[in-house]
């Protein structure tokens, strides 16, 4: 059984074991087929703004738009963190602020399954050996919980979104490799290079143990070259697909260039084994100007990687545009028509090339552009499951107290990842090396996140967050929204008009009409028309701490109002 076949076989096993009750198939989803895009939705033939620097209004509308796209969800605190900064200063801060390295994930599972490598409860497992399958399984949960925690606690920085972007670009599937320590190192590599240099990054990812396992570089040897990585390097990571591009011979030649990289499974280090390296010359096609990469022997064989990348990156316009399209679809909107291709993608690609493949100038240009703040770029992004659940948690001030017992603390974080997975976005395991289809599948793209399987699930978790029971995370812990704490993050919880205005502002992608706002206010007022009924109730609660009745009066009404508001379609957009 070949490696790719084995992967398919294992994926079937996984599908059967983890979702045996109702395997969902979007191709059988009649509602999705009926209502999703049949063609490019940009029938809105309006000329959209270009890449010149935006000089228009800098109000909450633009600020929240920027924060929503570059981070996960918005909150009064995140808006306040912009302070008096201008648009340009805010974008600079988002792009240039590198968060401190988070402490590594830990053994929270000791009481569920004692770690076979003697990692104690509360200590990190990232330097330990593999252990066994069950320990590895819990470590993978621990890693997802760690990832969730990093996002929930993000500061004013694009770093977490960029890490996710690269995970979708340089895909490795934790489900396929099944080695949490390697996955952790891979995620750390993504974090390290998230705002770095694309070309440097690609050299590092090529030699990363997780990638060598995932795309079979570890098995790519002189006598039986494995073409898996060589293909994806060109097809997905750099050049892209298309006619008159690379051909099958280029895949074979690149595979030979890449022979010899080996992973030491004990230390998880990569080495170059020259005895496994193909030393013959490698001939590439006309697309690559008939380049010949001269075969080298001994340790010098490793230098052929640089030759390969130099050859590929010499197709700079094609490579840069391929990456910039992916950035655009990840941060702005999925539909790229000819105008956007010519005005936006080309401009960003030129910036990338002129800056010698450094990512930051591209992001600075995009997020400072007229185009990014164009009405047609706003509110049209269907929130990914991670955006939805983690953004909601950040907006609603849902916090897992650090004082929570360690097992519950990490399980409470993990449950977010679990629900993302249930919604088709398993952090750490995109469905294939191509990443999540919502970022590439024409013409539906982001609409794939919302279908007859996922939307009811989103609603269910959404509703449960506002119950007194909450969302199950462990036998001892349920995640829920403390609605009273949440409204106290708003400017004036005693004023029902301000409460509704700000809930709409922070929660929903699109604002609401006055009549819709009045309807939500009427829930707070129990159908009465006088605002002071709410004000009095709120003041009673504030002035009588510990009075369960006063607390219950405002809490129950907030729960009902927020349940209804978050059920709106507007809650799935940003």
């Amino acid at each position: 059984m070949g490696d790719s076949n084995r992967r398919d076989f294992l994926r079937q096993l996984f599908t059967q074991s983890s979702a045996k009750d109702a395997p969902y198939d979007i191709n059988q989803d009649e509602l999705f087929k009926k209502y999703s895009n049949k063609q490019s939705p940009l029938g809105f033939k309006r000329k959209r703004a270009g890449l010149s620097q935006y000089t228009g209004p800098w109000t909450n509308e633009q600020k929240l738009h920027l924060l929503r796209r570059t981070m996960f969800g918005v909150s009064p605190a995140s808006l306040a963190s912009i302070g008096s900064m201008t648009m340009s200063q805010t974008v600079d801060a988002l792009i240039n602020t590198a968060p401190p390295n988070p402490a590594p994930p830990v053994n929270y599972y000791e009481n569920l399954y004692p770690d076979p490598t003697s990692v104690p409860l509360g200590a990190t497992w990232v330097n330990a050996g593999y252990g066994d399958g069950t320990a590895n399984y819990y470590r993978e949960l621990s890693l997802k919980a760690w990832w969730v925690k990093n996002i929930l606690n993000q500061g004013l920085s694009i770093h977490e979104k960029m890490t996710l972007f690269w995970h979708n670009h340089f895909v490795c599937e934790s489900n396929v490799v099944g080695f949490a320590v390697a996955q952790y190192r891979y995620l750390n590599l993504l974090r390290t290079h998230a705002l770095g240099n694309f070309k440097t990054f690609i050299k590092e990812i090529t030699k990363e143990p997780m990638m060598l396992y995932y795309l079979n570089g570890h098995y790519n040897v002189k006598n039986s070259p494995d073409e898996n990585y060589a293909r994806e390097l060109q097809e997905l990571f750099t050049v892209g697909k298309g006619t008159n591009l690379w051909n099958e011979d280029d895949v074979k030649a690149a595979a030979k260039v890449l022979t010899g990289y080996r992973v030491d499974q004990g230390t998880l280090t990569t080495s170059f084994d020259s005895t496994k390296h193909e030393t013959a010359n490698k001939q590439f096609s006309a697309f690559y100007n008939n380049t010949v990469i001269t075969g080298q022997s001994g340790a010098n064989g490793a230098n052929e990687l640089d030759d390969l990348l130099n050859m590929i990156f010499a197709k700079d316009q094609i490579v840069a545009k391929h990456l910039c399209r992916k950035i655009y679809r990840f941060f702005v909107y999925y539909d790229i028509d000819t105008t956007i291709e010519n005005d936006i993608i080309s401009g960003l690609a030129t910036t990338l090339i002129n800056n010698n493949w450094n990512i930051k100038p591209v992001l600075l240009q995009l997020f400072k552009s007229d185009h990014f703040y164009d009405t047609f770029s706003m509110d049209c992004y269907i929130r990914t499951p991670m955006d939805f659940y983690l953004g909601l948690a950040r907006t609603l001030n849902i916090q897992i107290p650090i004082s929570t017992p360690i097992e519950d603390y990490w399980r409470a974080h993990y449950i977010f990842a679990y629900h993302c997975e249930q919604n088709g976005m398993d952090p750490g395991s995109p469905p294939s090396v191509s990443g999540w289809p919502a970022f590439y599948q024409t013409p539906q793209f982001h609409q794939m996140w919302i279908n007859s399987d996922t939307l009811p699930k989103r609603m269910k978790v959404n509703d449960a967050l506002f119950t007194n029971y909450g969302v199950w995370a462990s036998p001892n812990y349920q995640v829920k929204c403390d609605v009273l704490a949440f409204v106290q993050t708003l400017s004036d919880p005693a004023d029902p008009v301000a409460v509704i205005d700000e809930c709409v502002l922070y929660l929903l992608g699109l604002t609401l009409s006055q009549s819709m706002k009045d309807y939500f206010k009427s829930i707070l007022l129990s159908g009465q028309s006088q605002n002071y009924y709410w004000t009095n109730a709120w003041n009673d609660y504030i002035n009588s701490p510990g009075n369960a009745t006063f607390e219950g009066i405002v809490k129950g009404r907030l729960q009902l109002m927020l349940t209804e508001m978050c059920r709106l379609a507007e809650n799935h957009l940003c």
Binding site: S36, L42, Y113, C380, D463, A464, W472, S526, L568
Partner: protein, 521 residues
């Protein structure tokens, strides 16, 4: 270790995950575990009068008319305009309530006097919450009585439903949101429906128009998926398609529009046991009546809407032969003050009459007309005669056939005295009477002025009631718990005309023993 071993291990780990008992489902509501209890098929329609209804101008105490005149001359309903009710001279209905007067006279309306709760609260919010949760005045309970009833009938609600045994919504509120009355232990056990004529609007009553932008494109897409994936959309659409309305409903009556939807869904076969409809505007602090004609004005308009809507709804059910399984009940957060204020209005009060209607109700007034002070002050309230939870308790036991222990658990662990709201002919599944249960023939029989009834019931509450031949409940003879053994209760004739009567002993919701007696002159 080789990579293929990693792979093997990771699939084994998945197995371990489930074997270790860590739930795969985030909710404790695995559909396989959920089992729907048998419902008896009866349907309750709750009508909420939001704002606090002025009971004294709704059911006018004709026998206290001078006290009433002293207390509220500026809003007083003229005695001659009050609609009389068959068989009573003590109370009559507001002149706008002709439809409900006719229902009373035709045996389809029960009225419970002086409904409130100890230590009444005068806040709309708090008193509504008390009515919703069935809590004591001083206790905060964060679930609703209907929510707990649904939890009891449908284990695992709301997340385990619909399931193959019960596809219909567990409860429905007509409107755009559900009230906390439907809050169960783990979620909202109700569905809000605002409109069944438009499939699009079944779930989202009102939505803002989608803009002609990419955002609008995505918004429209999500809305379509949202509406069509709501678990209950299809069954509601089916019921709405199959159902009809036989009666003509009054125009420009928002309550009638809601009850029309309820009748249509019931007619279409929906088995949902509880519906809630709403009519607001009862917070009549000023201009409650027209200064020139007290029979007109805001309150008269509201009562006319209420009465006309209920009348049409009952007629609809009657014409479609659905009346045997539907009963309706009004409630409001409080009554209003005995003494009116200077702006032709009334302020927040306490006791208020409650109406229960349907073919199975006992067509009488339970309780007496309220005691009013000779000259009321602003502090005077209509005194409580019945706890609203007695009504809930009776509905749960007599209408939904629940055992007393379950009724008690739904009502926050309390027991409330039964009320003779429903006729003794209500069809509930009869079970074999326990051995210690007995109801003996009264002696003497026939009798002229006094007789004795002997019964035994063990340690249980055992309402003994007297009915006429029409099934009309005349009197509660005894209703408290008795120890084991046989007991005698005396019955006085007290002006009853000669004829045949029935007396019935009820234990729990389902066990009823009935015998007849004869009064002779």
């Amino acid at each position: 270790m080789k990579r293929r071993d990693f792979l093997k291990m990771s699939s084994m780990a998945t197995l371990a995950y489930t074997l270790n008992g860590v739930p795969v489902h985030a909710y404790g509501s695995d559909g396989l575990l959920a089992k729907t209890r048998n419902t008896n098929g009866n349907i309750l329609v709750l009508i909420r009068l939001s704002g606090g209804n002025d009971g004294l101008n709704t059911l006018i105490p004709l026998d206290k008319y001078s006290e009433l005149s002293n207390a509220r001359s500026n809003i007083l309903i003229p005695q001659s305009s009050v609609l009389s009710l068959n068989g009573t001279t003590t109370s009559g209905l507001h002149p706008a309530m002709t439809a409900m007067r006719n229902m009373y006279n035709n045996g389809k309306l029960n009225i419970i006097q002086g409904v409130s709760y100890p230590d009444p609260n005068f806040s709309h919010f708090r008193s509504s919450d008390i009515m919703f949760s069935a809590s004591d005045s001083a206790t905060f309970v964060d679930t609703g009585w209907i929510g707990r009833f649904i939890d009891h009938q449908f284990p695992g609600a709301p997340y385990a439903y619909p399931d193959p045994n019960f596809l219909d919504p567990l409860s429905i509120e007509i409107g755009t949101s559900v009230s906390s009355m439907m809050s169960g232990a783990t979620g909202l056990n109700g569905l809000a429906i605002s409109n069944i004529s438009s499939f699009y609007n079944i779930v989202n009553g009102t939505v803002d128009p989608a803009p002609a932008t990419p955002a609008g494109n995505e918004l429209t897409y999500i809305r379509f998926i949202s509406q069509q994936t709501q678990a209950y959309t299809q069954v509601i659409a089916n019921a709405a398609g199959l159902g009809t309305n036989a009666a003509t409903y009054p125009a420009n009556n928002r309550l009638a529009e809601q009850l029309k939807i309820v009748a249509k869904l019931i007619s279409g076969g929906l088995k949902t046991p509880v519906y809630v409809v709403n009519i607001g505007g009862f917070d009549t602090h000023d201009n409650q009546v027209d200064a020139n004609d007290h029979t007109l004005g805001q309150h008269a308009d509201l009562l006319k809407q209420l009465s006309d809507a209920i009348g049409a709804f009952q007629q609809d059910l009657d014409m479609q032969n659905l009346d045997d399984k539907v009963t309706g009940c009004t409630f409001t957060e409080f009554g209003r003050r005995v003494k009116s204020n200077a702006s032709e209005g009334t302020d927040h009060g306490s006791g208020v009459p409650m109406f229960v209607f349907g073919s199975k109700v006992n067509p009488t007034i339970i309780g007496t007309s309220p005691n009013l002070p000779a000259s009321a002050t602003v502090n005077d309230n209509v005194p409580m005669q019945h706890d609203f939870r007695q009504v809930y308790s009776t509905i749960l036991s007599d209408w939904f056939s629940l055992q007393p222990s379950n009724v008690s658990s739904i009502l926050n662990g309390q027991n409330y005295n039964w009320l003779p709201i429903f006729k003794w002919t209500v069809d509930t599944p009869h079970v074999e009477a326990p051995a210690q249960l007995s109801l003996e023939q009264n002696f003497p029989n026939p009798f002229r002025s006094h007789t004795t009834i002997r019964f035994s019931s063990g340690r249980r509450r055992c309402p003994n009631s007297l009915y006429d031949q029409m099934g009309r409940m005349l009197r509660v003879l005894y209703e408290n718990e008795v120890p084991a053994g046989r007991f005698d209760i005396g019955v006085e004739r007290n002006g009853l005309p000669a004829g045949q009567y029935f007396y019935q002993l009820q234990v729990g919701s389902s066990t009823k023993l009935t015998k007849s007696l004869l009064i002779v002159d």
